[in-house]
Subunit: 241 residues, 2 copies
């Protein structure tokens, strides 16, 4: 076997793994989009489809992990190739978790469709989900094209998602205080908002892995954290004060 | 350099990495315990200490990742040693996330100490946090002793945590419906409960890695998921119905 042969077969392994990452990314994008759509239109069938498809996402993560372990064992890659394998393990884990959040969103669709709708509450959630979906699409592009700038832009855009979340948090508190019948549906909507905000954090984590892959170092600046609701009591005013 | 020498130096590398995992685990255990305590006693100083110490947990995760990458690059481990390195990467990521949740709990302490207390609401949270802390302690023991049975027991105990969460979810809904002044504090307490439930899931994920490390395969049975609030509308009754 010539060296040339070994190298190409190794490259083929890496390409296969990356193709699986892109496939997984596409499935997760679709899960977010369908979960948000099912929520908006109270489409329980679509919600069930999202929940069922999550198994395939989980299976793909496991497959990627096995492929990565096999490449590490058989090829003992160094430097950039090793970095690629390490990022693949991290990115697939982040994608799996985003998929879980989308599944959770879809689960709550069924619960919410049995409840009073809180009018106007879904628009903000939809915008937020759409932004996260676009960020995921862009970070996968950044990954495949090794585009450092696009990865950095995705990290910046996560701050918009955090701001959207903070606005929704306040909006839902107001709804709940206005009418106790809104409490239960708003709790569920709220979890959806929080989970969408977390999806944004996970997309950011993927962007950081892209930066690590391209530059060899994780970004210096600590990731901006925009969920102000946990630190700023003024965002969560008590009624009557 | 003799083979013997190489082997022992490799073993030393692995031991160092594992010692760092145990150190990180201890720091995270303490973060959970202190965050829960700061919440219960409205101890803002302790809460701030938890928040500040999270940086050291994050730094340790990064260090473990670097050590793992170095071992992969220099030693090209195979079979069981490779599995050890892969679990180290996954376990440190789970620990880092548990630490983040503890930090978030501590952040909410400061917010909550400025609000009306919802009497009786903290007992359930404290029990839940204590159970997760014990599970974490046990899973780290299972890791260091390669104890398959203990790891499996930890996975089973996560169902108790999920049940505690479901009970707390219902309790807080009742509080909020009884008095709108409870809404804001209960929202925060609720997030803490949900985050504690997620910590339990992450401890379970560590237990699964221990099983993978010892047996070479991830557990067959899908992890029991006990957060019924997202699928069962009856757990979240609308007021007046």
């Amino acid at each position: 076997m010539s060296d040339q042969h070994i190298v190409s077969s190794f490259d083929r392994d890496l390409e296969t793994i990356q193709a699986h990452i892109m496939k997984m990314g596409g499935m997760v994008e679709r899960a977010i989009s369908d979960a948000a759509c099912s929520l908006e239109t109270s489409d329980e069938e679509l919600a069930e489809a999202v929940r069922n498809r999550d198994k395939a996402i989980d299976a793909l993560e496991e497959q990627i992990n096995e492929e990565a372990a096999r490449v590490l064992a058989l090829r003992a890659p160094a430097a950039r190739d090793l970095r690629l394998i390490l990022t693949v393990i991290k990115i697939s884990a982040s994608l799996e978790r985003i998929g879980d959040y989308a599944k959770n969103m879809a689960k709550r669709t069924s619960v919410l469709s049995q409840m009073t709708t809180v009018s106007g509450s879904l628009a903000g959630l939809r915008r937020m989900a759409r932004e996260v979906e676009t960020m995921l699409k862009d970070v996968l592009d950044a990954y495949i094209h090794r585009d450092l700038e696009l990865a950095q832009e995705v990290i910046r855009r996560d701050q918009d998602v955090d701001q959207m979340y903070n606005a929704i948090f306040r909006e839902f508190l107001t709804f709940m205080m206005e009418d106790p019948r809104n409490i239960t549906p708003c709790m569920h909507l709220h979890f959806i908002a929080k989970n969408t905000e977390r999806m944004g954090d996970l997309v950011t984590a993927i962007a950081e892995q892209v930066i690590y892959l391209v530059s060899g170092a994780l970004p210096d600046d600590p990731r901006p954290k925009g969920d102000a609701t946990s630190v700023d009591a003024s965002l969560a005013p008590e009624p009557g004060t």
